[in-house]
Symmetry: C2
Subunit: 442 residues, 2 copies
């Protein structure tokens, strides 16, 4: 019998550990994947890829040749001495004295990954995702994405929100409509969750404030730069609000918190991506009808769809935000009731509109939110007016029948937020393994 | 146009803010749901439920009657003065001066929630989940669950792991077998992920160390106390390991970290649940064959299934751990190759066994993990020997063809870990909205 007390493995030296005080000539050991080999004859530079950057090792010719076949895609363990070297990544390299080849690839890489910017098309990069993500810039986006999710959770924990995990297989879709993936669940008809909407509302009656970060599924038949059929949604829902502005306030504070976290702990990746994050002090909020009129006047684009914002209008609002309001983010409030789900609270001052909002980031919608109906009678009336059946919603409706506080919430599309912040033009760049109408693998 | 700068709402007084220094007679405002009303005639006690506990308000008869109908399930905003009161929850109450009824229920609650322990059966509590979770003990379990997930992430962040989000809809199941939910994805056959196994391995080639916390789906046709058809899996995968003991070491450290976090930040809930968390210094590890023999000898139960542990055997190993090893946790290592998936690394010393492990918590398996095959040729050989097709796995196999470091990982069933720590006897007690063969709602 053994006793496991913890990790016993000693991790090797990483380039991020290099500081002003690191000793020249220190004996070190480093592990990593061979990212690049530059053979100058008498010496060979072998650059290792580690989770936080590259580290250069230098081999004398005979030692390199004696080691076995060291090539791109091998993983190595190298022993040697550290020395400062201005021209190496991170300003240091390891003069290799001993090497162990931990593993070797069975074939060359299908596309070059050691360039600063990959030239391969998005389709090619997605086809070979496990390889293309080994490029430093490609992978750096997902470190930024980590920072966003982490910021979301940490900020909400600090505000007394409870994290929940709600089922993705259910009897009925929260948003309704045709965009639902269907499956057979032990011979019963079932659907994949379009959002955790019903569940997070039900949980407001339990924990007052809740959030969830998880996958949602939309069987939308668009293949655009902005749509994914499966994406990660950052959802929150909070009780005892005075108005939807409390929800918008939480989102503003989360974004400020996340930008600070990224600048503090993900600066290496931001630099690599050449990304300047927006500074957020406050976020302007325009009414839907006001925004629609504004961009049509300012940019001379006649408004067509009266009940919704077309992608081009959103883009112009983004431009207006930048040019006139000095903000990368713009809230749009009071969307028409017709285009919002049944649970949205109508504006008591004009029931054609709802107490709901979207948040645009650089001209693309990244959030939908608002105040919800909390009164059972009001909810039933709205469902009736829309000809909705209660089937599969009994548990949701029971929460309201038994009393719910005034509440509201929002959902943020993580991939969209990621690419909008990084200035990428396709949401797939912000998803490790995108699912769209044509793509089910890898 | 408005400017949103942050949350402007002032949250009311909560019982958790009550400290030694809180001023007697302080004017306060508090919000909450009416948890209990005790009408003594001249005075009425109205106990409000808030996210972190109960707070008692006291009304004079006339003020109570003038307020409108205050009953269980209403949500209120109460203004008054704070006074110490030994007999009230938290040692304080609010002498109410003004009240606003924020919302009222449409019907009485279908089951009583204000008892310390709910008497209703599990089935009844699950049928009325949004209501039964309003009971303080019922909801407290999910605060503990939050602490476990939070501890998992925070510990792994500190160890250089990157958080990933991988697709739940795919072309092929990672674990194989018949336990797969199938769906039609734009007229193509697709499946729901049984685990993020393939993706987390692929991402080891990118980030060296990764983790994911998300739903997984198993179409298992068992309806037992230990099975859910959808559950939350805490997954990690790490490269450059020396052996599977590095993975077991990480799990041991995570558990220690999580127990500390829970004791520090979730003590109110632990107390409410009357739960003593295990103290973990180290975790004993027994070999599969050794453990099998041991419990058969010590407890006189003949071993039947030679390649797997039966639930009763796991339970006896748990008992052995408690009685002889002083540990609530026991690792079982070297499971037979026959019962492990193709990607498990066979033991080079005896290929009938694998370098894999389970972790039992109080006699129930909560984790499966191990070292994985990282060599492309070895992987292909094992697939061939099992008659597996490469279809739908091209992206996975490409990662290996292009080189992967030695690696291993594990998956933890969050709901099982929760109930095992809390001493509940059904995994459904650790799931907000369980999905099993008979349950698709609420």
């Amino acid at each position: 019998m053994k006793q496991i007390t913890g990790m016993t493995k000693q991790e090797g030296f990483r380039i991020s550990q290099m500081t002003e005080l690191t000793e020249e000539g220190m004996a070190v050991q480093a592990e990593g994947a061979v990212h690049r080999v530059r053979n100058l004859g008498e010496v060979v530079f072998v650059v290792l890829r580690q989770r936080d950057g590259l580290i250069q090792t230098v081999f004398q010719k005979d030692r390199f040749e004696a080691a076995g076949e060291i090539r791109e895609g091998c993983t190595l363990k190298v022993w040697g001495t550290l020395r400062r070297e201005e021209r190496a990544p991170g300003g240091a390299e390891i003069a290799a004295e001993k090497v162990l080849i931990l593993s070797s690839p069975a074939s060359p890489l299908p596309l070059p990954i050691d360039r600063a910017v990959m030239k391969a098309s998005l389709e090619t990069r997605l086809d070979h995702r496990a390889v293309s993500l080994r490029n430093l810039r490609e992978r750096a986006r997902f470190r930024i994405q980590e920072g966003l999710v982490r910021g979301f959770r940490d900020y909400l924990y600090s505000q007394g929100f409870t994290e929940i995990h709600t089922p993705k297989i259910g009897a009925k879709g929260a948003e309704g409509g045709a965009n639902i993936f269907k499956l057979s669940y032990f011979h019963k008809p079932a659907v994949l969750a379009q959002s955790p909407q019903f569940y997070k509302q039900m949980m407001v009656g339990v924990f007052d404030r809740v959030f969830e970060t998880g996958p949602v599924f939309r069987a939308e038949k668009h293949n655009t730069r902005r749509h994914l059929n499966e994406y990660t949604s950052l959802d929150l829902e909070m009780g005892y609000i005075d108005s939807m502005e409390d929800v918008m306030g939480v989102e503003t504070e989360f974004l400020r918190y996340a930008m600070e976290l990224l600048n503090r702990e993900y600066s290496r990746e931001l630099e690599l991506l050449n990304c300047q994050l927006p500074r957020i002090t406050s976020i302007p909020a325009l009414r839907f009808d006001e925004a629609k009129k504004l961009v049509s006047e300012v940019y001379g684009r006649p408004a067509r769809a009266p009940y919704d914002l077309e992608p081009e209008e959103e883009s112009l609002i983004g431009r207006y935000g930048r040019e006139y309001l000095g903000s990368d983010f713009v809230f749009i409030t009071h969307y028409p009731s017709k285009k919002r789900p049944f649970y949205a609270m109508d504006d008591p001052e004009d029931s054609r509109y709802t107490l709901s909002f979207d948040l645009l980031c650089r001209g693309v919608e990244i959030t939908t939110g608002g105040q919800r109906i909390h009164d059972y009678q009001m909810l039933m009336k709205k469902m009736e007016a829309r000809g909705m059946s209660e089937e599969g919603m009994e548990g949701y409706l029971e929460a309201f029948r038994c009393g719910m506080p005034p509440h509201g919430g929002l959902g943020i599309g993580l991939e969209r937020l990621t690419v909008q912040l990084l200035g990428e033009d396709n949401v797939r760049e912000g998803c490790l393994f995108p699912r769209d109408m044509g793509r089910l693998t890898p």
